[in-house]
């Protein structure tokens, strides 16, 4: 059933608090002339009307999977909607999914890993989070959803920049990077970012995220964290033993998965000329080979965790122990 693989429709997920400018960005994407047509899945409590031929109202039905775990959830309505939209392939070039302000992005992301119909028909292009530069610091203090929306973002539109001073802007970027150093930050005033910086980015493509060196802040290790969500990353030089890695990561996700929001890795397995891309949202993991390594290229394996309560030394030792011996 691989004949439809090549026709996967890109999906952009738009998250962000009410009033941050999410709907403004959505309407810009829909109204500007870029020659692309989108199907839009909007939540029923949307701020403004959305003007588009193909708008679908969603109920945000979050379903637990029947393993009984609270973090293993999918968006049931999205599975239904995407299956419906796919029957009319050719009518649009991409899908945009808007979530409600308080939504946890995990169920949306997990839907793209879990459901076979959704996986066959679509690919997650990017999670774009729109935040209000003025109010984000306060939100991060009082809301786990705000932290999660930053943690899950591939691209962050730092909006309403006209309302903050240069110092405030630097501080809010620092807070964002502390949670998620891999997200690309785009400053904006009225969600006025170039549209090709948020659409068609292929940002969920692992190879691309991890090739980019994260924008870690100097002295990050010693800094006192302002929010409970943060990230760690490790690199090892020796090839990875696939069996050891699988045993370690499945045990880790099983026991710590509720706190691990996103895990991403690029792995060089012993005796394999290809790179393996691994990613997980909470406990739900996915992986694929992403092409040959060029002769002479460094073969450093790397893993990144974004989550709560990350035990840095323990994670480091665990990953290092996955290297082949000798």
């Amino acid at each position: 059933m691989s004949q439809t693989q090549d026709a996967q429709i890109p999906v952009t997920v738009l998250t962000g608090y009410l009033g941050a400018g999410k709907t403004t960005l959505l309407n810009r994407i829909l109204s500007e002339n870029h020659g692309r047509k989108f199907a839009v899945v909007i939540n029923e409590f949307g701020e403004l009307g959305v003007d588009n031929d193909l708008v679908v109202d969603a109920d945000e039905e979050v379903f637990e999977m029947n393993n009984g775990c609270i973090c293993c959830t999918v968006r049931g309505d999205l599975i239904r909607i995407i299956s419906g939209l796919m029957k009319r392939k050719g009518r649009f070039d991409g899908i945009i999914v808007e979530t409600t302000g308080l939504a946890d992005p995990a169920p949306v992301a997990q839907t793209f890993f879990v459901d076979e119909d959704v996986k066959r028909a679509t690919k997650l292009d990017a999670i774009v989070t729109v935040v209000d530069a003025k109010h984000l610091p306060a939100r991060l203090k009082d809301s786990s959803e705000a932290q999660e929306q930053i943690a899950f973002a591939d691209i962050i539109v730092l909006n309403k920049m006209d309302l903050v001073s240069a110092d405030e802007a630097a501080e809010v970027e620092r807070l964002i990077k502390q949670i998620n150093p891999y997200a690309e930050i785009r400053r904006a005033t009225k969600s006025d970012v170039p549209l090709d910086s948020v659409i068609g980015r292929d940002a969920f493509n692992l190879a691309r995220i991890l090739e980019k060196e994260p924008d870690f802040l100097s002295g990050e290790d010693h800094h006192e964290h302002d929010s409970e969500v943060n990230s760690v990353s490790f690199e090892v030089a020796k090839p990875i033993d696939a069996e050891k890695f699988n045993a370690w990561i499945s045990q880790l996700l099983q026991t710590k998965g509720q706190d691990l929001l996103r895990t991403k890795g690029i792995l060089y397995y012993a005796g394999d000329s290809r790179r393996f891309a691994f990613q997980a949202v909470h406990m739900i993991a996915d992986g694929d080979y992403i092409g040959e390594v060029k002769e002479g290229d460094p073969r450093k394996s790397k893993i990144v965790f974004i989550g709560r309560d990350l035990n840095r030394p323990q994670l480091r030792r665990g990953f290092e122990a996955c290297q082949v011996e000798g």
Binding site: M1, Q3, T4, V56, D57, D59, E61, F63, E64, M65, N66, G68, V74, G76, D77, I79, R80, I81, G84, M86, K87, R88, K89, D115, E116, D117
Partner: protein
Amino acid sequence: MADVAESDFLLATRGRAEELGAWVVGAVFDARNALAFALADGTLHLAGTTGDWKPVTAHDGAILSASADMQEGWLTGGDDGKLMRTAPDGATTTLADYKGKWVDHVAAHESGLRAAAVGKALHLLGPGGPLKTLAHPSSVGGIAFDTKGKRIAASHYNGASLWFVGAKEDKPRSLEWKGSHHAIAFSPDGTHVVTAMQEPSLHGWRLTDGQHMRMSGYPGKTRSLSFTARGRWLATSGAESIVLWPFFGGGPMGKAPTELAGGDAVFCTAVACHPQHEVVAAGFGDGLVLIAEIGSGKVVPVAPPSGSPVSALSWSPNGALLAFGTEAGRAGIIDLARRP
């Protein structure tokens, strides 16, 4: 089936196929054995073994679901929010307009009932118009009338609801099981309800005593469920073979399913049991269609692989005709009564 010559498929000698250019959502025979293909471009194609097929535009958008209407003609639900009836002559009537909300599932019963699932609501209509609306805790994943048209079952998150259509006070019997349920079927004698779940497994309820039945082991999601005429077997898609669960001799609990026509490493995507005999038709992910006799396991090739998954499959009520459609828009009809 890779080694079967094109001429050995029944389609070559007893049928015809056309390229209709859009995802075939339903291949639906009405009670009088007239066939229509319902397509995701909003059209119905009234089709037969001879003569030109007649296209009818029923929806401004995609058809999401299709069924036979009460005595004749077809019922369709669309992403334009409409419940439409198309008569055998191709005349269309708007039965209901749910204002842009998707009409995900439709069903009808010859006794004079129509049903349309729109999000969490299940609307029941009679020949004269709306009768009642039944509310569910989450979006409806599938609907089915029982054979007599006395009850309708609707699947949803954490189970299914069973409603008496004629009840004065609408209070469903809740069939509970954790998880998300979609495709749903009633056994022909009305004693069992079975659903397909998000996690690849089936769940069943024996209505007499509420006994739960778990049927698992599928590598893929089951989309299609079909009981044999007398309810002895439940045929299902979602594996690399046709998976049949025995509903006799104490089954399906504690019994292994029978698997037919497996071996090509392609998933079965649609099943349809013959209206009289213990024969099942199956469509696969590569477009292959075949018929299998359950007792003997004998397989007869019907249509060769066309490269696109079979998305619709059904028998005419008289059991003489079989129709199929694919995601890519190939639609076929085979006359099994006619001597080639």
